[in-house]
């Protein structure tokens, strides 16, 4: 590969620093790509891809294109991958890939398109390594004598203005589409109510009761949801007990019952002493 690079390097050989950078960053980028494909966890995949993008960005910088390198880091690593991560994190950390084929013929088409894509990439790269004369970006007279950044800016806003605007139109279309799909008109009927509307509806009697259900009784001795709230006359408020708890087997709540009754284990100062017999405590719980 190094010899190929040397052979293709039009004006001037590849410097030692660039070669070192290539031989470090190249394997790292490759490892990132492989890691992205082979890791089971979606977030790990995304992180491997970040590694690849970072190495590519640094490779651009080494090859005298600092603007491209930093834009690669800001746009791809900073914005695009961050949004990916954002969604992946919402999906949940324990969800792994399913191996069941959901779409019919997906694997076949994936294989065909993958091979086609690989062919295209190999063709493009082999042509870049043999036919294309490399332009030297280094030195004061390169880039039209005004430097990489100024030149990129000039070209984007003159010769390549139309493709540039087309790209932004594409992005805006996507953004507007997402907004329309996600938009909820609050003023139309049958949608989510505001807080104020909900309060008024509650008082109008459209709900079972105007306020919320009474909470469980929280006393100094217990903060369990199984503890019922007491009404002013001392009787138990049935509404404060969750239906879920009513259906729970009584053994599961026995710990809470003992703690409310005060017959459980009291805090013991010797509990932290190593060697103290704690099996008794365990049994009581």
């Amino acid at each position: 590969m190094h010899e190929l690079l040397l052979a293709a390097g039009g004006p001037g050989p590849v410097s030692t620093g660039e070669a070192i950078a290539f031989w470090i960053l190249g394997p790292v980028a490759l490892a990132g790509g492989l890691g992205m494909i082979f890791s089971r966890n979606a977030v790990h995949s995304a992180l491997w891809l970040v590694l690849t993008m970072l190495s590519l960005g640094i490779l651009y910088m080494v090859q005298q294109a600092p603007f491209l390198g930093f834009v690669q880091i800001i746009v791809y690593t900073g914005a695009v991958m961050m949004l990916f991560l954002f969604v992946l994190m919402l999906v949940g950390r324990d969800s792994s890939d399913s191996v069941v084929e959901v779409l019919r013929g997906q694997r076949l088409w994936a294989a065909v398109l993958g091979v086609g894509m690989a062919g295209l990439v190999v063709g493009a790269v082999s042509r870049a390594l043999t036919d294309v004369q490399t332009a030297n970006l280094n030195g004061p007279n390169a880039n039209g004598g005004i430097g990489n950044v100024a030149n990129v800016g000039k070209l984007v806003f003159t010769d390549y203005l139309f493709p540039f605007e087309l790209t932004s139109a594409l992005l805006i279309t996507a953004a507007v589409g997402a907004m329309i799909l996600g938009y909820l008109d609050r003023h139309s009927k049958g949608t989510k109510h505001t807080q104020r509307e909900l309060v008024e509806m509650r008082f109008r009697g459209e709900y079972a009761r105007p306020g919320s259900l009474p909470g469980p009784g929280v006393f100094a001795t217990a903060n369990s949801v199984a503890t019922p709230a007491l009404l002013p006359d001392g009787s138990v408020s049935g509404e404060s007990l969750s239906r879920l708890i009513d259906t729970t087997a009584s053994e599961e709540l026995s710990g809470d019952v003992t703690s409310v009754a005060g017959s459980g284990v009291a805090p013991d100062a010797h509990a932290l002493v190593p060697g103290a017999d704690r099996s008794e405590t365990e049994e009581n719980r």
Binding site: I74, T77, G78, F86, V149
Partner: protein, 447 residues
């Protein structure tokens, strides 16, 4: 030789010295800022603040840091081990890297070697700072995700949304500076400000002509560093500690370090972009006040003004609600910034086309005011006028939430008017008393 060429000529030992000094600068500034913040906020709240360790309590944060290092390092059972370990490192390293492009001072001679007080001067220096801040978010997001617990995850999601939104406002406010300075290089931006005159006065800074950009930058830099009043990712009343809830010991210390180094970075960046870097205002670049080492002093002084602003905001303002915060970012800062950039470009273009600036601005302002007046003439959205009176389940009307209880009933008023003619002299002295009496009376009547 230009700044970049001088810096590229630095020998290895000088580069190493600069790297070590930059790292030490970041750490010392963190220790000092924690102390300063606690002292200043304490003063604002009428209490002494840390004053035991060292003179004026200066060594307090060092003691805290040492204590943190000896704390137990806890790895939660459900944590993703590798990511949990590297997250604090990812958040700390970019914070320090951003220092490398800051032009701390002018041209100096160190051990006989001519150089600038700056590590590198890249043609895209401004983008380096932006890239570092966008990489720093990964630390926060991954820390929240890898902890395997809901509060850190929520904090991390908030933080990701916050930093991405405010980075847009931040990047747009930098555009104004780049248009004016014609460069993305930090050194060139400072040099451009050195020649900047306003009405014959050498202001040596961009913040007066680019005031909207400056204000937006200052707002968004507070959001970008997750500081009060925008510290929603670590809102302790809602999310325990936010993304670093599960962290302890040195890993927690690294997050702290990253936060404070980020504060210093964005303040220094703002100094460089808007406040003229190390230049002393009102004098030329060749003045004694602007020699290389003194520029370093002015740079630090300007940075500290902004750092004090951070502390002041924290001591003064309550935390924003999340939706208000997002509305400020997307619906105020970004549109204002975009229209400001368009106006700036228009003014520059008209000036270079030979238009006189004064009349152009005057007629431009008239046109904008006319548009605003026209917008008032547009009909408002029709508000549906519902006639119903809210009633309770029992059928009684509900009093409105903003009900004002009248102090006098009509009947009572008629009675007092009748008696007033009889005891007119006593009215002025006993007015408030009679008013409160009548209010009590009306309350009794209602009950």
């Amino acid at each position: 030789m230009t700044r970049a060429e001088v810096l590229a000529d630095d020998p290895i030992w000088l580069i190493l010295i600069k790297v070590v000094v930059l790292f030490a600068f970041g750490v010392v500034m963190t220790l000092f800022m924690i102390w300063l913040e606690r002292r200043v906020v304490a003063r604002m709240q009428h209490r002494p603040g840390p004053n035991r360790v060292g003179p004026f309590g200066l060594l307090q944060s060092l003691a805290d840091g040492l204590k943190l290092a000896f704390k137990e390092d806890i790895m939660p059972a459900k944590a993703d081990k590798v990511v949990y370990f590297i997250a604090p490192v990812i958040s700390t390293i970019p914070a320090f890297v951003a220092f490398s492009v800051m032009p701390f001072g002018g041209r100096v001679s160190i051990f006989g070697e001519q150089t600038y007080l700056q590590l590198v001067d890249l043609p895209v220096g401004v983008l380096v700072v932006l890239a570092c801040s966008s990489l720093g978010v990964y630390g926060i997001v991954l820390a929240g995700w890898s902890s395997g617990s809901p509060y850190p995850l929520l904090g991390a999601l908030r933080s990701a949304a916050q930093v991405i939104s405010y980075e847009i406002a931040m990047g747009l406010s930098i555009v104004g500076v780049i248009i004016t300075a014609h460069s993305l290089s930090t050194g060139d931006i400072v040099n451009a400000q050195a020649n900047f005159e306003l009405w014959g006065l050498k202001v040596n800074s961009f913040f007066i002509p680019l005031l909207p950009s400056f204000l937006i930058y200052v707002t968004s830099m507070v959001g970008e560093t997750n500081r009060a009043p925008f510290d929603l990712p670590e809102a302790e009343s809602e999310l325990v500690g936010g993304f670093h809830t599960e962290y302890s010991s040195l890993k927690f210390a690294l997050f702290f370090l990253a936060e404070y180094v980020n504060m210093v970075t964005v303040s220094a960046f703002s100094t460089m972009l808007f406040l003229g870097g190390g230049l002393f205002p009102f004098v030329g670049q060749d003045s004694v006040l602007n020699n290389g080492w003194l520029q370093f002093v002015w740079f630090i002084a300007k940075t500290f003004v902004l750092l004090f602003l951070f502390i002041w905001l924290r001591g003064t303002l309550p935390r924003y609600r999340y939706d208000q915060f997002m509305r400020l970012g997307w619906k105020v800062l970004v549109p204002v910034n975009l229209s400001w950039i368009v106006a700036l470009v228009a003014v520059r273009q008209l000036r270079s086309a030979g238009w006189p600036l004064g009349p152009t601005l005057f007629f431009g302002a008239i046109a904008v005011l006319g548009l605003i007046a026209l917008s008032f003439a547009l009909p408002d959205r029709e508000v549906p006028d519902d006639e119903y009176v809210p009633v309770t389940g029992g059928g009684y009307p509900i009093p409105p939430l903003d009900l004002e209880v009248p102090t006098e009933t009509p009947k009572r008023r008629r009675q007092t008017r009748g008696s007033r003619s009889r005891r007119r002299a006593a009215v002025t002295a006993g007015q408030s008393a009679s008013a409160s009496q009548s209010q009590e009376g009306s309350n009794d009547g209602n009950v």
